[in-house]
C-alpha cells in the first residue's frame, strides 16, 4: 500500500455546508409532500382491452390451427394457411386492435417509469 497516497487522500479537507442547505432541502421535501400522489395506472379499466386482445390472439391461433389441419395446401411462396389467417385478421380488424393497444401501452409505461 502506498502510505504517501493514503496520507494525502485520507486527509482531505472537509467543506462546510452553506447555512441555507438544510432549509433548502426541507423546502424541497415539503414541496414534494404537498404534491398530490401520481394517479395510478388504471389497470382495471384496461383489463377488458387485454381480455379482448387475448381472445383475438387465441382466435387467431385457433383459426390458424384449423386451417392447417384442414389441409390447406402450400400453393406458392406464402402458405395458403397464412393467407386465410390474414384474411380473417383483416376482417375482424385484429391488427388495428393490436396496434392501438401497443400504441397506448408503451407511452403509458414510459410515463410511469419516469415517475
Amino acid at each position: 500500500m502506498d502510505d504517501n497516497l493514503d496520507r494525502i487522500l485520507s486527509t482531505d479537507q472537509d467543506i462546510v455546508p452553506s447555512s441555507a442547505f438544510v432549509g433548502n432541502v426541507m423546502a424541497a421535501v415539503r414541496g414534494e409532500a404537498s404534491t398530490p400522489a401520481p394517479i395510478s395506472f388504471p389497470w382495471q379499466r384496461l383489463a377488458p382491452g387485454f381480455a379482448i386482445c387475448a381472445i383475438a390472439l387465441t382466435a387467431f391461433l385457433v383459426i390458424a390451427a384449423i386451417q392447417f389441419h384442414a389441409g390447406a395446401a402450400v400453393t406458392g411462396p406464402v402458405p395458403r394457411v397464412f393467407e386465410n389467417v390474414l384474411e380473417t385478421t383483416n376482417r375482424v380488424g385484429l391488427g388495428w386492435i393490436a396496434i392501438a393497444l401497443v400504441a397506448s401501452f408503451i407511452p403509458t409505461r414510459l410515463v410511469l417509469a419516469r415517475n
Binding site: L9, V25, V29
Partner: protein, 203 residues
C-alpha cells in the same frame, strides 16, 4: 457503514444515539410527520455533502447533489430495511445518485493550467509545496476511469474501510480491493515523483 464522525460534528457518543434516532425519525416521517425528516437532514447533511464534494470537487455542485440524494432518500424512506444501518442505506443510495449525476454531467475536467502544474510535478525533483501537491493528487482521482474513481473516493471517505466502501458500492470486498490496487497503480503512474513506490503489503 461508518457512522457520523467528526465530519458532521458528532461525537462517538452521539453516534451511538444516532442509530436509534434515525429509526425513530424515519418512523415518524413514515407516519406523516414530515418535520422529523429535518433531524435526519441535520444529522447527515455534512457527510453527504463532503462525499459529494469528493466526487466533483465543486462546493456548489456538491450541495446540489447532496440535496438530490436527501430528496431521493425521503421518497424511498419506506424502502429502508432495518437489517442494515440507516447510514449504510443512505450512503449507498447517495453514492448511486452521485454516480448517476456524474455520468449525466461529468465533473469539470482539469484545466490546462492545472494539467501543466501536474506535468511540472511529474518532472520536479525538488520538494513540492505540500498543499498544492495534495490538492493535485486529489483532483487527479477524478481523472481515473469511473470504476476506479468510485472505489478510491469511497474507500478514503470511509476512512479506509473496505467493507464500508463495498457496501456503498454494492460490490464484493474482493472487487473493491482489486480496483483499489489498480487505481493506486494508475495514480502512481501519473505522478511517479510525487507518490512513493508501493510496498507489497496486504490491504
Amino acid at each position: 457503514m461508518q457512522p457520523p464522525d467528526s465530519r458532521c460534528g458528532l461525537t462517538r457518543g452521539e453516534t451511538i444515539l444516532g442509530a436509534s434516532d434515525d429509526q425513530v425519525d424515519v418512523e415518524r416521517v413514515l407516519a406523516g410527520d414530515i418535520d422529523a425528516f429535518e433531524f435526519i437532514v441535520r444529522r447527515w447533511h455534512r457527510p453527504l455533502i463532503n462525499l459529494a464534494y469528493r466526487f466533483c470537487r465543486d462546493t456548489g455542485r456538491a450541495e446540489e447533489m447532496a440535496q438530490e440524494a436527501l430528496l431521493r432518500a425521503y421518497r424511498a424512506l419506506n424502502q429502508w430495511r432495518k437489517d442494515a444501518a440507516f447510514s449504510t442505506w443512505l450512503f449507498a443510495l447517495s453514492t448511486n445518485v452521485y454516480r448517476s449525476e456524474l455520468a449525466r454531467l461529468p465533473a469539470k475536467a482539469i484545466s490546462i493550467e492545472e494539467a501543466g502544474e501536474l506535468e511540472d510535478m511529474r518532472a520536479a525533483d525538488g520538494p513540492l509545496e505540500a498543499e498544492d501537491r495534495d490538492r493535485a493528487v486529489r483532483k487527479l482521482v477524478l481523472t481515473l476511469p469511473t470504476k476506479y474513481r468510485d472505489v478510491v473516493v469511497l474507500f478514503y471517505f470511509h476512512e479506509m474501510d473496505i467493507s464500508a466502501a463495498a457496501k456503498s458500492l454494492h460490490l464484493p470486498e474482493g472487487t473493491v480491493k482489486a480496483r483499489l490496487s489498480r487505481a493506486r497503480e494508475l495514480l502512481r503512474s501519473k505522478l511517479p515523483h510525487v507518490l512513493t513506490t508501493p510496498k507489497v503489503r496486504e490491504i
